[in-house]
Symmetry: C2
Subunit: 374 residues, 2 copies
């Protein structure tokens, strides 16, 4: 089972002020391999964040008997006692990403497989292409792939690659959202929706998410490695808006119009000249990057990355909070391998990390048969 | 006699769409030294553009007797016959900057000093700090200083340093505008107004120019040396506006609000904490630079210059048409000499030319006594 990460294509920050944003699946994926384990040991292994847990199945059965009873077909949040019991079981520290990953696993496992009765000994190995905490939706990819694998195991969704119904995907998405709530407190639900459904999602505060199909496009993701606080950057935009309302308010209007145009273009590939679509997308990337600079969420490292892209005739913008973090570069299908190689070389020589991948592709995907016994 | 160049602080390009723009005097000056010349030879010398003319005074008298009769107190445009006669006299090629400088000299000299009767032999030496064709108002500085020196010589304005009345300055400005029309065809009149009055000028298409006092601020002017066509850049913005009206129109609103805020701030130094004013001006520079990038009039070289400034903790924007050309960097009064030196070094090492100077200062200025005989 695998599920993709996400990037925000356009609309970040403006979304805080009720404007729409456009997110899309990122084909850097989190993959879960599930296999039966001999004996009575249950194993959870996430090498990318250095988790390697082995529990006696009977210990898990005992734990699950003391927490709320789950029903795989009815996604629900943990009650306070359950959360507290899971935290206690894992010796969790507040906000520790590793602890949260384990708690999410135990919660989904207990609720979807059933918290009463005997458990199978399993070996759950989670691999991920996604950097953690870089705004690329790594926790949602984990939550979605985990929910999906457990729902298949529980027989709640069918074990048939790539043919889940809207309802089955809805169930995966809802459980993943519960997991995301444990990890993030009050997430928008965009990351898990993108990871579940793939493609594009248009979202706006207070409105239902609008999944949409778009073309799958090649990109290079660049990690500036500059740590940033989303909260601080959102505050910074608020300060600028309060200080210069007459300047910033029209900017937000402009950003809204850009999101609408980007969605139209992403959806219009089939009926238009692809070259014209790419030209527009490149222009929108440049425009939106400058708009985000107007809001003050740029960063020297991002300017540097954009400059390297420009020098190589590519177009690039920050994605997510800005102030560091990640950027994406659109790669046209007619860009020669040599040219892309030169771009990547110049980015990496400047000390940034990059991934050549795609956006707009499949959501959660079943890749192989899994043991059906729970 | 000297007159300053100009930069556009904010509002370039938006001004094409009826929004206000803010221009200010640039203390890179064109200086005219006038002295009596022994004998009958009249000398016009502009070493910076390689002009070194010597005429028999009688030849000028003969020329002037064949063109329209001037009146120094009534600025007027050359009629077609006069312009054609002057072009013929100078063997002028179409649009050649050197030829235009000579024609402007002959026209103003004939009209202000008088085109009938005997002329004094003079030596007119024009020096300039301003690069030609870089959007820094070099032709206006020439036209203004030339008009002023001739008007003093003709007794039309008084030979008293720094105490010209509004009317006297108005006469200088009007003659300079006539000169600018010969050079540029259909100039806005902003360059000559800034060069005449100094300080700030707020202007908007179809409205009277609004001269305003502001603080004099230190800047570094950077010449990217990238040649650009203002016409082409104006077309480029038009194309982007036509292609993305919903995105670009609000940008223009935003740029208008920024100009208003910048003017307020420039005029507010006396009643505010200077540090707060500088903070605002720096932010407005960053914002406006990004806005201009949204319009698509940036350039790799300008991005590079802005990046060098950011790396040295300074704020920078393009000025004028963009797409190359010049940029300015605001220098706060508390910036150490060492820091400014480091900035300039990094700019010049990158292959750009720079001038440490000031904006917002005096307009046309009489520096020394001149011969009163004409």
């Amino acid at each position: 089972m695998s599920a993709p990460g996400k990037i925000i294509l356009h609309g970040e920050h403006a979304v805080v002020y009720g404007k729409p944003a456009l997110a899309t699946s990122l084909n850097l994926r989190t993959t879960i391999h599930l296999s039966g384990n001999d004996g009575s040991i249950f194993i959870l292994c996430l090498p990318s964040i250095d988790i390697n847990k082995a529990w006696e199945v009977t210990d898990l059965e005992l734990l699950y008997s003391t927490i709320q009873e789950g029903n795989g077909s009815i996604p629900s949040s943990p009650d306070t006692a359950t959360l507290s019991r899971l935290r206690q079981f894992t010796d969790a520290e507040d906000g520790n990403a590793k602890d949260l990953a384990i708690i999410v696993f135990l919660y989904l496992h207990s609720q979807i497989i059933g918290s009463r009765g005997s458990l199978a000994a399993l070996r759950v190995v989670v691999g991920s292409d996604l950097p953690v905490g870089a705004g690329l939706g790594s926790s949602a990819a984990y939550s979605v792939s985990l929910a999906a694998v457990l729902l298949v195991l529980a027989g709640q969704i069918r074990q048939i690659p790539n043919s889940w119904t809207r309802e089955e995907l809805g169930l995966v998405n809802s459980w993943a959202f519960e997991a995301e709530r444990i990890i993030h407190g009050n997430p928008s639900g965009v990351d898990n929706a993108v990871s579940t459904y793939g493609g594009l999602i248009l979202y706006r505060k207070g409105e239902a998410l609008k999944p949409a199909r778009g073309n799958s496009l090649q990109v290079v993701i660049v990690n500036s490695h500059v740590p940033r606080s989303t909260k601080r950057l959102v505050e910074k935009v608020k300060e600028r808006l309060d200080k210069y309302p007459e300047i910033i308010r029209p900017m937000l209007e402009s950003m809204e119009a850009l999101v609408v145009k980007a969605l139209d273009t992403m959806q219009g590939f089939e009926n238009s000249d692809a070259n014209v679509c790419y030209d527009i997308l490149e222009e929108l990337i440049d425009i939106n990057q400058s708009q985000l600079n107007v809001l003050g969420v740029g960063h020297l490292s991002l300017e540097h990355i954009c400059l390297l892209c420009q020098q190589n005739d590519f177009h690039c913008k920050l994605t997510g909070a800005g102030g560091g973090g990640c950027a994406f570069v659109l790669i046209r299908p007619d860009a020669s391998k040599e040219k892309v190689k030169t771009l990547i070389k110049s980015i990496e020589e400047a000390g940034y990390m990059s991934w050549l991948t795609s956006i707009g592709g499949s959501g959660v995907t079943l890749h192989e048969s899994m043991p059906l016994s729970s």
